[in-house]
């Protein structure tokens, strides 16, 4: 595990040579992996602080000083509490969960808020569309359909759920019309993995 299977930053696959002749060509449309900047900065900050404090204290003691109060408190606590103490167990569990969380951060792509775009017809461009932007477009398109009074749109990474409120007419027809219209709208976005459009219709309470 320490050799790290190099998750995100694996080199891009070689492009076909034909494409190489004509120009940069569209970059492989995939979701770029998050840099994990915040998590890294926070972890690094904690490590730097802890490492620095310990180093300082070791030097301090080694040069003939008596240990600081905070250090004796920590070492006393470690020596006085047995492993089956509630606090020790709780602390270990927190460490375990935190470790799992960091591993998860390290191994997953992140950037769940964006949808990669194909970028057909572009060169050297890697583009993503924010999910909220896709939602705004779908919401707007929903309101364009006849008889729709309001809608709630939720765009996930695999499916977009539209809850539309219609005022009159047959529900099934409205749902069909909405699905058709919204699917067309979705296809205009140029997404790599277009989310499946799911329409739920209910009538307004009047």
């Amino acid at each position: 595990m320490t050799t790290a299977p190099a998750p995100g930053p694996a080199p891009l696959p070689a492009l076909p040579t034909e494409a190489a002749e004509v120009g940069p060509g569209p970059l492989r449309p995939r979701r770029p992996w998050s840099t994990r900047r915040n998590a890294a900065a926070l972890t690094a900050l904690v490590l730097t602080g802890a490492g620095g404090a310990l180093l300082y204290e070791e030097v301090y003691i080694h040069t003939g000083h008596t240990a600081h109060h905070w250090r004796t408190r920590i070492t006393d606590a470690l020596a006085d509490h047995s492993l089956n103490n509630h606090w020790v167990i709780a602390g270990s569990a927190v460490g375990l969960v935190l470790g799992l969380w960091l591993l998860l951060l390290a191994l997953t792509p992140g950037r769940r808020g964006v949808l990669p775009m194909t970028g057909v017809g572009t060169s050297g461009v890697r583009a993503v569309l924010e999910r909220s932007a896709a939602g705004a477009l779908l919401h707007r398109a929903t309101l364009e359909v006849n008889g729709v009074k309001g809608a709630r749109v939720k765009v996930g990474r695999r499916r977009a759920v539209i809850r539309a409120v219609v005022g009159f007419g047959a529900h099934e027809q409205a749902a069909e019309e909405l699905t058709r219209h919204l699917s067309a709208e979705r296809d205009r976005m140029g997404l790599v993995r277009p989310p499946v459009v799911k329409v739920k219709v209910r009538s307004s309470k009047s």
Binding site: M1, A4, A6, P9, P11, L12, A14, L15, T17, G23, P24, G25, L27, P32, S34, R36, R37, A40, L45, L47, T48, G51, L54, E58, T75, L78, A79, D80, S82, L83, N84, V88, I89, S92, A93, L96, L98, G99, L100, W101, L103, L107, M117, G121, T122, S123, G124, V125, R126, A127, V128, E130, S132, G135, A136, L137, R140, L143, K154, G190
Partner: protein, 218 residues
Amino acid sequence: MRRGRRAGQEKEAGADMTRTAVNRVLLGLVGLVLLGGGGLLLIGGLNLNRRWHLGLPAHWSVMQPHHAVLTAAQRDQWRNHGWWWPTAFAGLAVLTLLSLWWLIGQLHRGTAGDLPVPVPDRGPRSRTLVRSGALAAAVAGEAEELPGVARARVRVQGHRRRARARVSLTLTPGTAPDPVLRALSDGPLAHIRLATGLTELPAEVRIRADRGPAQRVE
């Protein structure tokens, strides 16, 4: 300058890709240490070794629930050895410096400095440089002129030979993103590549939408 386009493609993400790799490897390592340490203490505290027959060495002090986490004797056991202090100092110093380097690596935003621009009419020893900020401003200005684009923010990042543009476009309500992306590629990005000779300048584009007045999106 160019050793084939493919090489240019592969280093397209440049410094940021390296940072991603470093961050993820180090986060994974810290995660493993925390996971292992927490797990071991938990196994000891809940006596899981005996209860679940995990087969871990029972004489380990961490496997005995009534044993202290770290006794004074355990803490001081190597204190009188000659190698202890140098090792402890070196280990802690390496850890601290590495963490500091890691931390500092997160701070800079990787904005490219001046970029060399090939000018054919001038001698081989002369160099023309263009400020990456000026480049970014040019792209942003032109991008904001595109129909449907409300705002454009551009940064040019990376090193001289592998600069890349980070573009953030905010579209006006109802604008389809795909045509705008194509227009951006054919217009501002193509122009800047042509004008600077940075033919491989890759771009990362993020498209967001302006919230219209009557939007209720969740």
